[in-house]
């Protein structure tokens, strides 16, 4: 690995961190430095567990990849989103990815909104991916899933009336970060990933003042999303 390549990896990551983005951390609850075998096994975990429910997969494996003594990483642009993830032999995954809503930024200023469906679908993908890792025994008996929305001051939550019309449902956020966290047994993660995702998505909506649509409608939208497999 050249110095230039390492430098490009770091500057790419720093550029994502400087912008509004998703920050996802998954890990077992018990730390074992060498929980996973080889780096090949780690690549295989990511590739076999990634979730492809739409034109973007989660997490995306980019052209730029790197590896260290106990981790593998990948970063780049896909579908207008910048992403970086690093997967450790301990089973920990750290993922930062810019908001899909920001792909059409004009004059450098991000659109001051987040789409509620984008939030629901991304959280659903994160939990589905975590469940698949859990099923491959990556986490051991228990795991933790933390999802943050960072640098979101001033953002509003948008929802649809009749597609593709969107309207504002809530006031702008005054908090810079929204975080949701789940920790528990992998049997629950593997068996209830969709419900857990729904709960976490609703907790994000709560940060904006409440869910923009009924629980029944959220469940229905998520069910249709998951059926795309």
């Amino acid at each position: 690995m050249s110095v230039a390549h390492v430098s490009s990896e770091i500057s790419f990551l720093e550029a994502i961190k400087a912008r509004p983005h998703w920050h996802v951390v998954l890990h077992p609850q018990v730390f074992e430095e060498r929980r996973l075998g080889s780096r090949d096994e780690m690549w295989s975990c990511i590739k076999n567990c990634r979730v492809s429910l739409r034109e973007r997969d989660y997490p995306h494996v980019y052209e730029d990849c790197d590896k260290g003594a106990d981790w593998v990483a990948s970063w780049g642009e896909s579908a207008g989103q910048s992403g970086y993830w690093r997967f450790f032999q301990s089973g920990q995954l750290v993922h930062r990815i810019s908001f899909f809503e920001d792909r059409l930024r004009l004059q450098g200023s991000p659109p001051p909104f987040l789409d509620f469906l984008e939030v629901l679908f991304t959280v659903t993908e994160i939990f589905e991916f975590s469940a698949r890792l859990a099923n491959r025994a990556v986490f051991g008996p228990s795991a933790s899933v933390t999802v943050e929305l960072l640098r979101i001051v001033g953002r509003k939550l948008l929802t649809e009336a009749h597609p593709p019309v969107c309207y504002e449902t809530r006031g702008a956020l005054i908090t810079p970060t929204l975080e949701c966290c789940w920790a528990g047994q992998i049997t629950e993660l593997a068996g209830r990933s969709a419900e857990l995702a729904l709960e976490q998505a609703k907790s994000f909506f709560g940060g904006f003042g409440g869910s923009p649509v009924s629980d029944r409608m959220l469940t229905e939208r998520q069910r249709r999303f998951l059926e795309r497999t």
């Binding site: 890990h27 018990v30 450790f88 920990q92």
Partner: protein, 141 residues
């Protein structure tokens, strides 16, 4: 018990220290783990410490925005005391002191120093150690 003027000075300090930590307005259920962790650390400091609720951090600057009435209502001294006690041995004594500065409300959680060093209960210590290892591993990412 600290007097209100001392607590107001802590707000106006706008700088955290080992004995002083700010939290932005939030309900007890949302902040209890962070508060417990901070309180355990403060209990081992010579004069204890104070957690002040109602001060937000914006781009590295501390802003005394106050704590909302709705959030304030979720803090009950017995509940706070019991929750922190679940994690520590010996007992960590805390006091809740609501106070005002201008037209804004704040809540101080005063953490008293314990006579002997506070240790985490074994099961909590193990969890904390695992969490710290993961945190260290992802440092800088």
């Amino acid at each position: 018990m600290a007097d209100a003027e001392t607590l107001r000075r802590l707000v106006r300090l706008r700088r955290e220290d080992r004995f002083l930590e700010y939290k932005e307005s939030g309900a007890w259920n949302d902040l209890k783990d962070k508060i417990a962790k901070t309180a355990l650390g403060m209990a081992n400091i010579r004069d204890g410490g104070t957690i002040v609720l109602g001060v937000s951090e914006r781009s590295g600057q501390f802003e005394p925005e106050g704590v909302s009435t709705e959030h304030l209502a979720t803090y009950h001294s017995d509940e706070v005391q019991d929750y922190i006690h679940r994690f520590a041995d010996p007992y960590v004594r805390t006091e809740l002191q609501p106070f005002e500065d201008g037209n804004r409300s704040f809540l101080a959680i005063v953490v008293h120093r314990t006579a002997s060093r506070v240790g985490l209960l074994p099961e909590v210590a193990a969890e904390t150690s695992d969490a710290a290892s993961f945190e260290k591993q992802r440092e800088g990412l």
